[in-house]
């Protein structure tokens, strides 16, 4: 009997298909970062991916090599708009390592506090924007409202919300204002409330979980081979955190936990970030208590190489006037040599490798950007996945253009 062609046969038949190249970016509404993806698609399945970075390259290192050691600090602000202070800390600690400076205790507590507020702002943006890019506006507003509260604190502490420029080599710009601890505790309570609201709407939301669970997986071994650090590595189950493993500032003296995930998918990354925000709040509270216990004290190191004289003396004494003049026009001389200092930024290991030839101008300032390194294995996370999985994966890599492209 002759075979009768049915509709089922037509559906089973192999259709002639071709791979399609899709250009996404460099400016795309669903990615918070200026980056271009060239995606090879088979239907909606990602076959391969090429990433073009560099759109925000503005010669960070070259600029650093042409100013004084001080003049590089505002540039570090602009590496990561979410957590400028963490970049300030990374740079200043590297230069201080070369100068063999030990900063006063009060300064270290202030830096720890400011750094954790920065990390909080960064994670709030990442989690909030991830919801926005997955078409959920409300949780984004919770996140951004909490970030506003964090930036209010920043403004009170540094005078600026985003590009804080708070650190100095050997200290900080100034102590916190007297009203700061009170406002800070109030805002922490409000942020905790917002995080609770956020958690209720998002964490067990079926739509959100379906988009995140099992997508963008990167195994522990691949993380290590690609030198991936930060929440992505911790989500894969490796408890590496520079704050714990090589404690700097006051991290050895505060209590906090390092959350880790199990499978290393986007959902684990999300859970790690949410828990890290709670831990950051815990650290901020401990810093406040320690600062109150310490009472007033110096926030800048008393070392003639980097110290700026008191303003009152500058206008009335010749020695201090000359010192001020030299500090402004020439800046500190850093002894010849090289140093690498790593800190745990919101995205992972942020390292600064500084080389000095003994003059007042850096010979080299290398920033080891976690965004750049963490973005590289993205094709590995996405080969064989659906095009839609690209969005949450890119969100939780949290590539920041300023830092990635420098």
């Amino acid at each position: 009997m002759a075979h009768v062609r049915t509709l089922d046969d037509d559906l089973e038949k192999d259709l002639h298909t071709e791979h399609q190249i899709l250009n996404m970016g460099p400016s795309h509404p669903a990615t918070h970062g200026t980056v271009k993806f060239l995606i090879e698609l088979d239907g909606e399945t990602i076959v391969d991916l090429d990433i073009a970075v560099g759109y925000l390259h503005r010669g960070f290192e070259k600029e650093c090599e042409s100013g004084t050691w001080y003049q590089a600090i505002p540039y570090t602000d602009r590496l990561n708009y979410n957590s400028a202070i963490l970049a300030n800390i990374g740079y200043c600690l590297a230069v201080e390592k070369l100068l063999a400076l030990e900063t006063p205790e009060r300064c270290q507590w202030l830096r720890t506090l400011a750094g954790e507020l920065s990390r909080l702002a960064d994670h709030l943006t990442r989690c909030g924007a991830a919801c926005l890019e997955l078409q959920a506006m409300t949780p984004f507003l919770f996140g951004i409202e909490a970030r506003e509260l964090t930036w209010d604190l920043m403004e009170m502490l540094c005078g600026a919300r985003v590009t804080s420029n708070y650190l100095r080599i050997g200290g900080v710009k100034h102590d916190m204002p007297p009203a700061f601890p009170g406002v800070c505790r109030e805002n922490i309570a409000k942020i905790r409330g917002l995080l609770r609201d956020y958690d209720e709407v998002v964490t067990r939301n079926r739509l959100f979980v379906d988009r995140l669970r099992g997508t963008g997986v990167l195994s522990k071994q691949d993380c290590i081979r690609y030198a991936v650090t930060g929440p992505i590595l911790r989500a894969a189950g490796v408890p590496l955190d520079v704050r714990k493993d090589e404690p700097y500032l006051k991290y050895a003296e505060v209590d906090f936990d390092v959350p880790i995930g199990e499978v290393g998918d986007n959902y684990d990354r999300y859970l790690v970030c949410v828990e890290e925000m709670q831990q950051s709040l815990r650290i901020v509270e401990q810093c406040l208590a320690q600062l109150e216990r310490l009472g007033p004290g110096p926030v800048n190191v008393d070392d003639p190489r980097v110290r700026w004289p008191a303003k009152g003396r500058v206008f009335n004494a010749m020695e201090e006037l000359i010192q001020q003049f030299k500090a402004v026009t020439e800046g500190p001389l850093v002894p010849p040599g090289e140093a690498y200092h790593a800190i745990e930024s919101a995205n992972g290991e942020l390292g600064f490798y500084v080389v000095s030839d003994g003059t007042a101008v850096p010979w080299k300032v290398r920033c080891r950007p976690p965004s750049f390194v963490n973005l590289q294995p993205m094709p590995l996370m996405l080969r064989g996945a659906m095009l839609a999985d690209l969005i949450p994966t890119f969100d939780f890599i949290n590539m920041i253009g300023g830092e990635c492209d420098r």
Partner: protein
């Protein structure tokens, strides 16, 4: 040569007596300057040798020491996850031929980092699978982090060819 109490430097000096040219531990960072011709072999030793296990290539960059010979240095920062230790390996690269062996076969992390060094310093990495510019565009002339590239030089902004 001294090992400055660093197990990595001690083992390197034992295993590669001729290839380690200098060591120091300035600011507490254990550093070995090695023969550029054997750098991949040395990095593999540091990664695989029991008791060292530097599994992560945290950073790879270069420094231009204009006026010195060799002119460039390629700098590797390794981290051992299991032992929580760091070591810095440096290898000199002359102005011509301006090349060194690639470490991509050891760590895929080296891929983009080496592309960046090629882009900004013009150091070629032999056996790199895809040595293209990464931060700048293909039409860009020169390598801007070289000390003889003037900061004020301007080039037309054209997008990447692809």
């Amino acid at each position: 040569m001294e090992d400055f109490g660093s197990p990595a430097l001690r083992r390197l000096l034992e295993a590669f007596p001729g290839a380690v040219l200098a060591t120091h531990a300035q600011c507490g960072d254990a550093t070995a300057l090695v023969d550029a011709g054997r750098v991949v072999e040395i990095l593999r030793f540091l990664r695989d040798e029991r008791g060292l296990e530097f599994e992560m290539l945290m950073d790879l960059t270069a420094v231009d020491h204009l006026g010195r010979a060799p002119r460039f240095e390629v700098v590797y920062h390794l981290y051992s996850l299991s032992r929580n230790q760091r070591v810095r390996v440096k290898a000199g690269v002359p102005e011509s031929p301006c090349q060194i062996d690639s470490a991509v076969a050891l760590w895929p992390a080296a891929d983009w980092m080496e592309r960046e060094v090629w882009d900004l310093y013009g150091i070629r990495f032999r056996n790199h699978p895809d040595l293209r510019r990464i931060l700048l565009y293909e039409e860009f002339e020169g390598h801007p982090l070289r000390k003889d590239y003037p900061k004020e030089r301007r080039q037309p902004l054209v997008g990447p060819g692809n």
